[in-house]
């Protein structure tokens, strides 16, 4: 059995967003492998170490920096990468992204070759949480998103999905999409030898014409949504700050809760 992980390069969690006019200023952003994708890759590699999976493929779409995200995944222990890079892809929305990723996946043999499709639940930049479900729908297969546990048993899987106030235990037949969240595992810190080894692992590159996708089906032109404008959220102002005897500061807090927040 083989596993594929779809990963994304995203701004570091420490990033402070700046704008140039109403567009994002990307000049000083440092990029990392999306933290949620780390859980996905770690899970696939653990399944390989457990002898359940014999190959872990990593697919990423994005500009040249996506290569670094793929290398990070290879350092965790994935075997090889696929990088879809094409200037026409700039500005693609979630639906276009899902379609392009599916074409690359099919080029690699698709569901005939890969039965476990792993994603991070969300990419911390776009935050749409949508590509895993969209790809499952395009492929006509089930998906269990937001999982904290994944057990593979033959062609079946038990996956625990965290929902508000509880957990759903899903039983599914493979092939299936799984989207990982924090709690699924504790991703390893790749060792220096693993990082060195990752540099030698193969990465296949595709442009959209390699995948048979016309340029007007992707990017801003092919997308179903368009970003009209970026703005910064209203800056919160520091309010009142008090210090003193507990009884006295609590009294002031009670006054705030009653008169301003209006909750007691």
């Amino acid at each position: 059995m083989k596993a594929v992980c779809f990963v994304k390069s995203v701004p570091d969690t420490e990033t402070r967003v700046r704008l140039t006019g109403n567009r994002l200023d990307k000049s000083e952003i440092k990029y990392i492998l999306n933290p949620y994708c780390e859980f996905a890759v770690e899970e696939a590699v653990r399944k390989k170490e457990a002898g359940i999976v014999d190959e872990v493929l990593v697919i990423s779409m994005g500009p040249s920096r996506a290569q670094e995200a793929i290398r990070s995944a290879l350092a965790i222990g994935a075997d090889r990468g696929v990088h879809i890079e094409d200037d026409n892809l700039d500005g693609s929305d979630a639906i276009v992204t899902a379609r392009v990723l599916v074409e690359a996946f099919k080029k690699e043999g698709g569901l005939d070759n890969y039965q476990i499709l792993l994603f991070g639940l969300r990419a911390i930049d776009g935050d749409t949480w949508s590509v895993p479900s969209m790809i499952a729908e395009l492929l006509g297969i089930p998906a269990v998103t937001n999982i904290v546990k994944l057990d593979i048993n033959g062609n079946k899987a038990i996956a625990i999905r965290m929902v508000e106030g509880g957990e759903e235990v899903f039983e599914v037949e493979l092939p299936c999409v799984f989207a990982a969240r924090k709690g699924l595992n504790e991703p390893r810190y790749p060792s220096l030898p693993s990082i060195m080894k990752a540099k030698k692992k193969p990465i296949t590159r595709y442009t959209i014409s390699d995948l048979g996708i016309p340029s007007d089906a992707v990017g801003k032109v092919g997308s179903f949504t368009e970003v009209l404008e970026y703005t910064l959220p209203p800056q919160r102002q520091a309010g009142k700050k008090v210090e003193g005897e507990p009884e006295q500061v609590v009294e002031e807090l009670i006054k705030f809760l009653r008169e301003v927040a209006n909750i007691i």
């Binding site: 969209m134 729908e137 965290m162 179903f224 009209l228 959220p233 008090v242 210090e243």
Partner: protein, 332 residues
């Protein structure tokens, strides 16, 4: 659109026989949006025994309600739910499809959007109507930027952030047309089932839906000290949250984490207790209406966003606050 009438379709969601709060918000906003567009509001509800909810759904002013009631649909089923909603969309050609931003909403709507070919905007905190166009307003990059999203393909699929759109408490009297959808699972759908649903809330409101959240961080020093925050939360009818530090230390479950790798909350009041306010934590709670912080470090970044801050020892302040709230409660 049927006979030139514009439509807003709301996907309602129930659990354990009751409408979920984000579903009530979506139904309420669906009616308000329909009024702004001069449109009809149509709802769809899927589940087992959900026919009992028809009267309540109608009370949100729904002109028509589609209902798929089947034992197979008792729990969320991505493929089956997506197929049912897609059929309703094909029949009604709505301008907009709304759903509350639960885990189910965030999983289901992308499937339907790509299936029927409409633009998708999740986590909406607002929208604008510009002539014939809908523009969704949503945070991205963990709330560090606000994005206006235009739709080039309709229906516009919008998933609403919980706790942002108000629930209409007044019952709107309309006679809703009810359409029953007959449902049989396909062979592929039978290959995915929920075997079990376990509830793990301890009777407190869900973090993402709560009006008040009481969160603790590294400053709590120990798992046992969260008992104090739980007592405070119960006095306020609040949910208990935690910073990443408290979760990584094993003091609280993953499901309690607020922040970039946890949940995003927008309560009316967020109390950050013993939380310094790292940028990743702020990403998950800075859209709260009011923020109260208690921290012994006067330079903690949390004070930069707090509407009311107390510099001091939480172990001295929180017990006094609890006693004071008990008195307040006894009085009312």
């Amino acid at each position: 659109m049927i006979g030139g009438v514009v439509m807003v379709l709301v996907v309602a969601e129930a659990r354990e026989g009751a409408l979920r709060k984000p579903a009530k918000e979506a139904l309420s906003e669906g009616r308000r949006m329909a009024d702004k567009l001069g449109a009809k509001a149509v709802a769809v509800i899927i589940g087992e025994g959900v026919k009992t909810l028809l009267k309540e759904i109608s009370g949100y002013g729904m002109d028509k309600i589609y209902v798929a009631d089947s034992a197979f649909l008792k729990y969320y089923h991505p493929m089956a739910y997506a197929r049912i909603i897609s059929e309703v969309v094909a029949k009604e050609s709505p301008k907009v499809v709304l759903m509350g931003g639960t885990q189910t909403g965030r999983d289901l709507m992308p499937r339907v959007a790509i299936r029927v070919g409409g633009g998708y905007a999740p986590d909406c905190t607002g929208y604008e109507i510009n002539g014939d166009s809908i523009i969704a307003v949503r945070p991205a990059i963990s709330g560090k930027v606000i994005v206006k999203v235009g739709f080039k393909k309709y229906p516009a699929f919008m998933v609403l952030r919980p706790n942002v759109f108000g629930v209409n408490e007044d019952i709107i009297s309309v006679s809703s047309e009810v359409v029953e959808i007959s449902f049989e699972p396909t062979e592929v759908e039978r290959k995915q089932i929920v075997k079990e649903f376990s509830i793990k809330t301890a009777g407190r409101p869900e973090l993402t839906e709560a009006e008040i959240v009481v969160s603790g961080g590294r400053g709590l020093k120990d798992a046992a000290n969260f008992a104090m925050l739980e007592e405070l939360a119960d006095l306020l009818g609040a949910a208990v949250g935690a910073s990443r530090a408290a979760v990584d230390a094993g003091w609280r479950p993953q499901s309690d984490q607020v922040g970039q790798t946890g949940k995003t909350v927008s309560p009316k009041l967020y109390m950050a207790i013993g939380i310094s306010g790292a940028i990743q934590h702020l990403a998950g709670m800075s859209s709260s209406k009011y923020i109260v912080a208690i921290n012994k470090d006067p330079d903690a970044p949390i004070f930069n966003v707090a509407d009311f801050g107390i510099v001091g020892d939480l172990f001295k302040i929180v017990p006094v606050l609890i006693e004071r709230l008990k008195k307040e409660k006894a009085r009312s």
